[in-house]
Symmetry: C3
Subunit: 278 residues, 3 copies
């Protein structure tokens, strides 16, 4: 219980830090949801900058408070940009979020995600199938050699990714989030299960990508575990509130951004979550 109160206090600090300091996050992300990533980062108090080229990835790695790398729609230049940027981030010990979208599809994606093992992303965020497949690719416990990834969707349940998530977090020394109906966050020692959300999240492309981008914002002023849990909490809270006010996915997205912007730190910290020692 005391642990939980301590965590809530840190969530409040994370929310307030980003609203006060407007932390800049550099992103290399897919073209489908790049606009939503930027707008959600702004909604929670951050500043967004996106690039494609190697030297610009390096520039942002150095200049931004945190970075977000999403391998959604790979372009040829990513072959150079992504490993270079991740290497710089790792060398400078700057925090970054990896979103291993659709791991298992295509040679370049597999090659890039394999390389990221050495660059130790501070937070890894994926759906259950992606987390299991990434652990498999990295040869860690809980992973499978064959990906169950179906396009960008998950065909595994969140709890099925439990072991993989813990193994990944122990490898990186950071945190892992498995997004789903309940969001699981772990630093390899503790598991937090964040509740809430909305069925409309599956009808809004980029719900997951933008969550990764928002973790980046919180990562500038909080630990990996708290940053991921804060992002999960504000997403679950905003989605639940938005769903209650709308009747379709178009208005849901609009209302969701409004709720991200309006949610106060106390309410975000009070969004229900459970803790389990690993």
């Amino acid at each position: 219980m005391e642990h939980k109160n301590e965590i809530k206090k840190e969530i409040i600090e994370a929310v307030e830090f980003s609203r006060k300091n407007n932390p800049m996050v550099g992103s290399i992300t897919n073209s489908v949801t790049i606009n939503l990533v930027a707008n959600t980062q702004l909604a929670v108090g951050g500043s967004a900058a996106m690039v494609y080229l190697p030297d610009e990835g390096e520039f942002l790695a150095k200049a931004a408070g945190a970075s977000y790398i999403n391998v959604g729609t790979l372009l040829p230049v990513y072959e150079e940009t992504l490993p270079h940027t991740a290497q710089v981030l790792n060398e400078l010990q700057k925090p970054w979020v990896l979103d291993p979208v659709a791991v298992g599809i295509g040679l370049l994606r597999t090659d890039l995600l394999q390389k990221f093992k050495d660059y130790q992303p501070t937070v890894i965020k994926g759906n259950a199938s992606e987390v299991i497949a990434l652990a498999g690719l990295w040869g860690l416990e809980g992973g499978t050699a064959v990906s169950n990834v179906r396009g960008v969707d998950s065909s595994d349940s969140v709890m099925a990714a439990n072991t993989a998530a813990i193994a990944l977090a122990r490898w990186t020394g950071g945190a892992v989030m498995v997004s789903g109906q309940t969001d699981l966050v772990t630093d390899g020692k503790v598991l937090a299960m964040s509740q809430g959300g909305s069925h409309f999240m599956e009808k809004m492309t980029g719900a997951g990508c933008s969550l990764g981008g928002v973790i980046g914002v919180y990562l500038v002023g909080a630990s990996p575990f708290i940053a991921a849990l804060t992002a999960a909490a504000v997403y679950n809270l905003a989605a639940r509130r938005a769903e209650a006010k709308v009747s379709g996915p178009g208005s849901f997205q609009v209302q969701f951004i409004d709720e991200l912007y309006q949610a106060n730190a106390r309410d975000i910290a009070d969004n229900p979550f459970e803790l389990v020692e690993v």
Copy 2:
């Protein structure tokens, strides 16, 4: 009349199939409207995945139920990705939609669209000028050697593309849709004219692109003609309903997505259309 009732029954089945089965569509499409394409595909029950690279195009051609290729904002890598993906689709006899956006502009676009003649897209969807120009490029009846395409807009009326549409449908053995104030759909034997829509559709970038993406969703569980007509019907219905509730193009887009999501199968089938034997 009997024919019309049979068609309505098939429209209902197409709508219900995609809501029940969440069919995945792989898309290679332009960056301007890629987000709207994904969100409209989700709204009608589908699942969306977008890629740029050749081996990823091949992966989706095989893994997805249908594919959508839109030549809107060509990137250099498309020179390899698009013919390769279209060839795989053709070899495997997987259904796909071609959107020949801005045919006539640029060398690569012309070259790609020329190549697609042999890969026989299952559904071709364009505005009147695009359909006429594509028929011209492929040396078919009703086409013109000189494109009247003006950027992404049409300067020809839908009925002026009648002959070209029929010729294209007969060439591919699939269906052709000419989008406009009235949408024309033909399989080379029958012409359907779908009514409805909204003047706001011209004020929302991607109205046409996303229509192509939604045809892809229906194409997984319906014939080319029914898939195209179902997409036209739900678009015309949702646009008419949305227009009645809003006062500008910003709120129109939001409401339009909500209406796509909410429209029931019976109402979609009952959206007015006329049939003419060719």
Copy 3:
């Protein structure tokens, strides 16, 4: 006073020209906000077309009434596309808008923006830090050798870019806009300060980019100074009206597009601005 009334008359003409003639603007712009650029261009009466390839940039330079070049998210092909397109625009004396986003970041960006000095963009639009840095890059008065650009945000105040804006306008013979809380527009002889706007503009990614795209629309039928001032006026008016009706940045963007569409020419011309002789 007479001067001001003359300007208002020209603003009304600019607004009415684009609503009546649906002028096409070709854009090469970043992937983050490309959809918003297109939708705002449509909302004020224009037609939007976006490309990436060199020969397509040339095509649009020739076919469109004006062009918009935004260096936000550079891709490798831009190394060829942007100088070629700008050269064609300059040779044909076709009007174009330059948005020097994040000037100072990366080698290609610096090289491209340096080259644009010779191609004399008709309107340059940036935030204060960008305008100062561009003047510095071009060796003009008011510029600084070291960029204060922080990602895509400005760390300088609008009035601090006064001298740089005038120097740039005199170099190009066109107009310069410095966007900010108050928007400054100058042709090197007169300074106009346009009032209004909303604090939500900073929470909507692409507020600045889309403003550049809308200047392009007005540039087809108006002088550089009037085109820039008209765009500033309709943005400040629409943002103020939208802010009064919403409670978050999601619904702000929707309402803002509606207000762009609905604003009448007289109200746009009457949006407050001040004039100062240089």
